[in-house]
Symmetry: C2
Subunit: 419 residues, 2 copies
């Protein structure tokens, strides 16, 4: 292994993976704070903070942040998810010091200037508008809300226009103070990097992170439900889903294999039946998202309104049959794809930096390649079917946008699955 | 250099780039045939052929194609563009033979079974429907049509529902026989590959490609124009563009640098003014596409309908000022970003396989890293301004979807730019 980990006295963890011969490096800061850590009056605040981090510090204006990293040919970006927020850069190996300096600056010394805040709110309102205009994004917001109603986990990460417009500088500061603490943070670097040098640079520049996080998270309670939006569209966009499996659950790998065999690749049950045999959809795939204490498993499909009546039972029968008749060949293919995806990710510095950061945040250690492959290989057909059966036996969630009249209700979905 | 090239007697070219230590390989077939090679009654046929290649051969059903590659953990896909079509796979290094066997099978021995054809047409109608529902895709179809009216280059790659529905097996066969010939084809592999072995496998399996291509291409004639679609949307999606520069033109690199400085990164003129200073848009960027004999340069932006009246002059002034006041710092940053992007691409086997295949098709040779860097470094501020000035002096093209009433006409755009 080329992975090295250092934990600073503050609790901040630094992890690096040196990949020989690479001239570039991917590095970033992963913080265990996302939309589900928001209080009820903080909806959208994690994402607003992520935007505002780039809007100027004591030492650099927003323009200087952009110009300095780009003058070195690098780029810097960030992403807010449900349980984490990541700030990351790609630079020449010789410029890791610059990237760390800028990341530290924006995460420990941001001004959150009120005039910048007003402008950035307006940018986020545009971002919310873009999601509204993209039905295959928006249907997932509906899906999450239906699955976890009235809970942080079910709310759109971007927030609502009303809430975003209402936040002030103090709200951002309070959220940051509660969540952006050293023990909740991992700094990860992969590619042309040297561990000792990264540790030195981080130690010097990240000393201002708070020593303890006060963040907490409301435990998720999956409910299931039905949210649909009638719109004049060419396609009806549908998500059908169920409570999935937490990434902490030992059955997590079996759930991934099930998801892949049911609707992952071109040879999966759903792709073969819905697209190849019937030509009902261009896009049809399953997904499996693990969270701290729960998960979501589901299927996305888009089809012509006239085909919804056929798509619904065919999709559900594929899921039921994936449990009942999954065979050794299906499981072999799904395992093989998962293993090659793992190797492929190991060949990319950005994928590697992200993977090891997430593992460290979740498990406080890195799972090595051999360990993951052994876990995958160790799964029996029965394990995989059981994971699938357990997921699709939960209360269904359905979300749809377009001509939604013929999209089945959760009750009817449950009836079909229970045969 | 780790690049090796072999030309077979048939004219088929094989290029490999061995990347030491990689356990996976990216490889594919690039054919110099895309939507602009289609006759007037063939609109959408390149893309239909690309889909049908996966629908069964003499030796393998569609399901077997999917199952064989996925049983090895690999994946296979394809993409049709304006001047090329690519079929590519990612597999373990030990499975390059399997990938080549399948790629050869689907490209030289496909059945184009009529029943499969009917189903696949229905899938493509769904794909066309998906674009209709995605305004930031659809606006680019409008833009191309307005820029190159009544020409193959201006038509949507997917075709129209009417035309796609009308194609039969003979049409596919005739198109393929005309265009999918050995001299018009490059097979490229990067990652954990050995040149000699790839050459052996390709020589054995690709012997059935025709020795000469009869394909021809209508010379492009950029016109410019205005296409807009009134729709009830949260945002107005706008593309403003101009005739760009062919990838064969020596000014091509200068055009890329201009595009980057005007609207490429976070420090670009458009991002700073439109998003950072005014908060008018979440998405704002410029693009620069080179074709054989022409190009397109333009800007995409999406904003709230109330902001269109402000966005139009601000965007145009940014473009005009990018020509008039671009400085050494702007050009330095754009050059640095282009160089690091180049190095980053060299670290990914899939990016590398694609890059060398495209260069070989276009120039019959590979431009090495040092050569590209020297070309970039050799550009003066004056070269970059001149490329920008030349592009924005052409007749404007505008395309828009949403509340389009306040989107400026090409005449008004030209007036503003000419001051």
């Amino acid at each position: 292994m080329t992975i090295e980990i250092t934990k600073l006295p503050s609790g901040l963890r630094i992890i690096t993976d040196q990949m020989r011969d690479l001239e570039t490096a991917s590095l970033g800061v992963w913080v265990a704070a996302g939309s589900r850590h928001e209080a009820s009056d903080e909806h959208g605040l994690s994402h607003l903070l992520e935007h505002m981090a780039f809007k100027g510090t004591q030492r650099r204006s927003a323009r200087q942040i952009a110009e300095e990293i780009e003058a070195a040919g690098g780029d810097i970006n960030a992403a807010t998810s449900v349980e984490q927020t990541a700030y990351y850069a790609r630079v020449l190996s010789s410029d890791t010091g610059l990237a760390i300096d800028i990341l530290a600056d924006i995460l420990t010394d941001s001004l959150f200037d009120p005039a910048e805040l007003e402008r950035e709110k307006s940018v986020i309102l545009q971002e919310i508008g873009a999601v509204e205009d993209t039905p295959d994004d928006l249907v997932f917001d509906l899906f999450n809300s239906a699955a976890f109603p009235d809970q942080p986990l079910g709310r759109p990460i971007l927030g609502t226009p009303e809430r975003v417009s209402a936040f002030d500088r103090d709200a951002i500061g309070a959220y940051m103070a509660r969540h952006y603490a050293a023990p909740a943070t991992v700094i990860s670097a992969a590619g042309g990097v040297e561990h000792a040098r990264i540790v030195d640079e981080v130690s010097e520049r990240f000393s201002r992170l708070a020593p303890a996080a006060e963040g907490q998270m409301v435990k998720a309670a999956y409910v299931g439900g039905d949210l649909r939006l009638q719109r004049k569209l060419e396609q009806t966009h549908i998500v059908i889903g169920f409570e999935g499996i937490s990434f902490r659950d030992p059955a997590n790998y079996a759930a991934h294999i099930f998801c892949n065999a049911a609707g992952g690749g071109m040879s999966s049950r759903l792709f073969q039946e819905v697209r190849e045999q019937r030509g009902l959809a261009y896009s049809i795939y399953s997904f499996n998202w693990g969270y701290e204490d729960t998960g979501l498993f589901g299927v996305y499909a888009a089809c012509a309104p006239k085909d919804v009546a056929e798509l619904m039972p065919v999709t559900l029968d594929c899921l039921a049959q994936s449990v009942a008749t999954l065979d050794a060949g299906d499981v072999h293919r799904a395992k093989a794809q998962m293993k090659v995806s793992l190797l492929t990710a190991l060949e990319s510095s950005s994928a590697r930096a992200e993977q090891i950061a997430r593992q460290l945040l979740a498990f406080d250690r890195v799972l090595d390649k051999q360990e993951i492959i052994e876990r995958i290989d160790g799964l029996s057909l029965e394990d995989v079917r059981r994971a699938g059966a357990s997921m699709i036996s939960s209360a269904p969630t359905v979300a749809a946008i377009g001509s939604v009249g013929k999209v089945w209700t959760p009750d009817r979905i449950a009836q079909r699955l229970r045969g």
